[in-house]
């Protein structure tokens, strides 16, 4: 087992959140019921995605060896890495935090932080929600926003990659 997998940080974080809830309950008790209801609504949407992420993790753990990750997603892997991050980010579903464990695995196998940053940025482009954005803001706006975000995602990936090994 890797050292990071033994870390109790996640449980400390949850404990911290419970403490925040307790403090809130003391100050504004009426907010707790609606907070728990809102959290429950989010959780119901998240569970199916968790299953999908698990399947994706099994596939990547099985097929993406450290050599493959370094070759296609590592710092020296060139243009194809950005394409994978871009397409992977756009087609992946659910909340951003659901994908952290998969990306953690890929990072440990040799993927660059630049790849992860670009993937996460493209998670913001939601193809299934595109009709709704078009409904509210028009197709020109939706299209331009999507294209600008894709371009910026690559720039962000390049910046993060430059920082990797120096600041990061």
């Amino acid at each position: 087992m890797r050292k990071s997998e033994k870390s109790p940080a996640g449980w400390y974080f949850l404990l911290g959140v419970v403490i925040v809830y307790l403090i809130t309950a003391l100050i504004k008790s009426e907010a707790i019921a609606s907070a728990l209801q809102s959290a429950w609504n989010v959780l119901q949407n998240v569970i199916p995605i968790l299953v999908l992420v698990y399947i994706m993790m099994v596939i990547t753990n099985h097929f993406v060896t450290p050599q493959v990750a370094r070759k296609y997603l590592g710092k020296a892997s060139g243009l194809k890495k950005w394409w994978i991050a871009l397409i992977g980010g756009v087609i992946s579903m659910g909340p951003i935090y659901m994908w952290y464990p998969l990306l953690k695995d890929l990072k440990e196998d040799g993927a660059s932080y630049g790849f992860i940053a670009t993937f996460l940025y493209n998670r913001a482009i939601k193809l299934p929600l595109l009709p709704i954005m078009i409904f509210y803001f028009g197709w020109v706006y939706a299209l331009v926003l999507g294209l600008v975000m894709m371009a910026v995602s690559i720039i962000q990936g390049l910046i993060i990659e430059k920082m990797e090994g120096k600041i990061l």
Partner: protein, 141 residues
Amino acid sequence: MMSEGLLLSSKKSAKGIFNMLPVLLGVVLLIGLVNSLVPESYYHKLFGGNYLINSIIGSGLGSVLAGNPINSYIIGFKLFDLEVGLVAITAFMVAWVTVGVVQLPAESILLGRKFALWRNLISFVFSIVVALLTVFIVNLL
């Protein structure tokens, strides 16, 4: 019959998901709390400064709030009706999905503290850049 390699991958993935559960639960609870403590009716009251200040406010608000992006579109449209500028609204919607103050602890635990901080900081700045560029291009078309 499942191969040994696939079985190992399944176990490793299950362990990864299990380790993530307290973080996931913490994030979900925080999202619930933020949604409960910061009502939608309060958002538009934050805007009122100039072009740039409103964009920073939009980006800041989008960074703190979390949840389904559809909500950000609906809120963005409501803000548009209240004559908040499109740059500020775009910065708000982009930050909603690219910056995660609520998710920051989870991102730090799983992907590294420095990476999480820098990625969110750069995404915050870029939400304003994306908003300016998008509105500029849309106005040209």
